[in-house]
């Protein structure tokens, strides 16, 4: 690393002119790229946000406004009845709780098991590891059919319980590969020096690998919690008890109900709600909790691997 003098910008070894010109180029270069980044990303953010604002506005707009297409980016004829209709029922609170439970417990369990399983698989040099990895990868594409899976769960006795929301999805091979990839990027030197110090594999894993893997764990936490929170098929198929219903099921029911114009148009007209605003309100109710996961996880996206931590 070349040292530059702080006062004069001249390097201590005397190549004055050249470095000075390069310095200007560098900051211009940086500024241009920085500027483009801001511009591009801002444009993208606007393109992303505007339709979303439109959808959210529909959740709070009056029926006549929606029917005539008058809703733009902001609500027209502001009303909160659609949202209240969705969240004011006991069933909503119950479904919300069920989803929370499945998501939180499921994510923790899945993260733990997947993170642990990915570790041995990242050690490609060990015998049979490749084969075991292929056993896992095979299941990414080859799964049982709907009926055999249902019959199997019925046999295991997990149907209509909370466990069926968590257990079958315990290992997601796709995510496991991502974690494994991350483990493989950890410099061998760090691990080897710990091994020389006599630490057991599990200890190395717990004390060394895990803290370094926070970014990928945060990533997989986000992915897994989104998948669990939005899971419709699992709860739909394997749960009959209405008390165990999760949020996606509840919302689909509410939306279907709102679109059932034949039976319920009177109800909707009385309350001045339109099917579209109820659908939009359902989305608002369902999405806000899960949106909060990523911001919470963002602080783990920190630079974790640094040279120099080879000291035991």
């Amino acid at each position: 690393m070349e040292q530059t003098s702080r006062h004069t910008g001249r390097p201590k070894n005397g190549k004055a002119r050249k470095v000075h010109t390069l310095r200007i180029k560098k900051s211009l270069d940086e500024k241009i790229v920085s500027g483009i980044s801001y511009l591009f990303i801002t444009a993208l953010v606007v393109v992303m946000l505007i339709p979303i604002m439109h959808v959210v506005s529909k959740a709070f707009s009056a029926e006549w406004a929606i029917n005539t297409g008058s809703v733009g980016i902001f609500p027209v004829g502001f009303q909160v009845n659609s949202l209240l209709y969705i969240i004011q029922s006991k069933t909503f609170i119950m479904a919300f709780g069920n989803s929370m439970f499945a998501t939180v417990v499921g994510t923790l369990c899945t993260l733990a098991v997947t993170a642990i399983t990915a570790y041995p698989l990242s050690m490609r040099h060990l015998p049979y590891m490749k084969g075991i990895l292929l056993i896992f990868v095979f299941t990414m594409y080859f799964t049982g059919g709907i009926i055999p899976t249902y019959l199997l769960y019925s046999m295991y006795g997990i149907l209509d319980t909370r466990i069926v929301l968590i257990l079958p999805g315990l290992i997601n091979v796709y995510h496991m590969l991502i974690i494994k990839n991350f483990y493989e990027a950890i410099p061998e030197s760090i691990i080897e020096s710990a091994q020389l110090d006599g630490a057991s594999s599990f200890r190395i894993f717990l004390r060394l690998v895990v803290p370094l893997s926070k970014p990928v764990y945060a990533t997989i936490t986000v992915f897994t919690s989104v998948i669990l929170w939005n899971d419709y098929f699992g709860p739909m198929m394997y749960i009959n008890n209405p008390n165990l219903k999760t949020l996606p099921l509840y919302l689909r029911d509410m939306i279907a109900r709102a679109n059932d114009t034949q039976a319920l148009s009177m109800l909707l007209v009385e309350k001045n709600l339109s099917a579209e605003s109820i659908t939009a309100a359902a989305i608002v109710a369902a999405t806000i909790p899960i949106l909060l996961v990523y911001p919470f996880m963002q602080r783990h996206f920190v630079k974790g691997i640094t040279v120099g931590s080879t000291k035991g």
Binding site: A62, E63, W64, N67, T68, G69, S89, K90, T91, I93, M94, F96, G97, N98, M100, F101, V104, V105, L108, I146, I147, Y150, L151, S154, G157, L159, D160, T161, R162, Y232, M236, M237, N240, N241, P242, N243, L244, L249, R252, D253, M254, A256, R257, D260, T261, Q262, A263, L264, S265, M266, L267, L268, V269, E270, N272, S274, E276
Partner: protein, 528 residues
Amino acid sequence: MKSRQKTPALMLVLVMVIALLCSCAGGTQPPASSTAPASSAPAQTASEDKPVLKALVANANIDWNDPEANPVLAYLTEATGYLVAYDPLPADNPADKLNAIISAGTDYDFVVISASISGANVLYAQYASQGALLDLKPLVEELAPNIVDGIDQSLWDICTVNGTYYAVPTANPSGRDDTANIDYGIMVRTDILEKMNAKMPTTLDEFTALLEDYQKTDPMGNGDMNVPLTATIANLKELRLNAIGGAFGVETDWKDVSGALVPYQTQDGFYEYLEYMNDLYSKGLLDTEMPVNQGATTLEKFTTSRALCRLDGYWAVPSLVETFGTVSPDASFEFIQPLEKSGLAGSGTKTKNQIAGYTVIPKNAKNVEATIDYLNMKLDPEIFKVATLGEENVDYTVDEKGAFYPILPTFFEHRGNAGNYATGTNQFNNDYWLCRARKDENQYAAYCRLNYDYGSFIKVDPSTDVPCDVLAKISADISVSNTVTEEFIVNSVVSGITRDSFDAFVTDWKAQCGDKLITVYNEWYQNR
């Protein structure tokens, strides 16, 4: 450092506690197995000696086990003495879950396979013929006199499989005693008609002239944003069945021609109908955006006075009245009659024997006699009447002709969702249903217009009486037929039709599914 590590852990614990509290808000701890009843602390009490029955039902968008939201549930529990715990199927793809549950050998006491599940007839027929259901004929005849009395023989015929029946059918109620309802028609803005000094069209030529006139004179000042007739792809079906198809003789899917069933796909009238629709489309009289229109889009065009005409059902009237009331108070609209041409006109509908639900009992059900007893009690004429209509002079009134009129708002508070709990019908069902249709005077007026004022146009599709086991044989072919035909219709309307393309379609349709359909339908039809 340590406190920072503790906070997320604390938060996690907090979240878990909240989650558990919320999920227990239902009142009772969720049962560990699927054999215990699923209910949320019902307020009603059941008789001590009667078992609790478990039922699997199709999702009708209600909270099945909540007696406060559905007072009919409280009434039924009290009147019959049986407490029933309902588990609803999901709204999307309920057939998959139903298949899984049935094939796993479920022990629900009864299952209601409602028509809202697509392919319900076929599912019932398959379960019945595969031995997954109990033969109900001996049980009903011996133990359930109300069911025997209440349900018409023609309904039993439809659910007969292998000489016996495995379900208690619930008829789809209709305001008409002789056919199913007519639900759809073309709505026209009568206030714009007035502006144009035009009258309601009765013939096809008048209708076309009206659309052209609208486009030319532009009474609402929309310029080239005018859409005389707006529609979605889905609307094309009802446009054929209820509005325009009659003028070409294709107002039903199948017709009786000299004792044989003939499909509309092979008829010349179908060619001429498509020719006409393509003509409308290429002149811009039919919305050029038709292939990408959604219901909401056409609604928007209609309510912002860009569209003169739009297809919809009579139940949409109250919402439209409300919207127009806010947006354009001078607006008014009416249903056009089914259009005539050269003496041909018609609005197609089904026979009166349409089934809304099959109540079946799976092989492994444990409380068979109790279930039959329960179903029987529900069809006791008095119980059935109160379950459907509520209390006289609280929920409804009777006029001197014996017609039922709802008292609003209590009728809907008390019996709004009553129809979902029906497991069987009797001969008064249609009269009771009319009470519901009378809930909004605009809606009822629209209903009467389509079904009574235009009653002379109604034609019945004879194929809609087909029994389920015949239907099960051809369900895959029907599905292919619908797909292939729809594709042809849309492409013809948009891009045009020639004799050659039509002949090619008919040949292709026959080869893929049509021949089989014609054979099977006629085999049944000519031998009943």
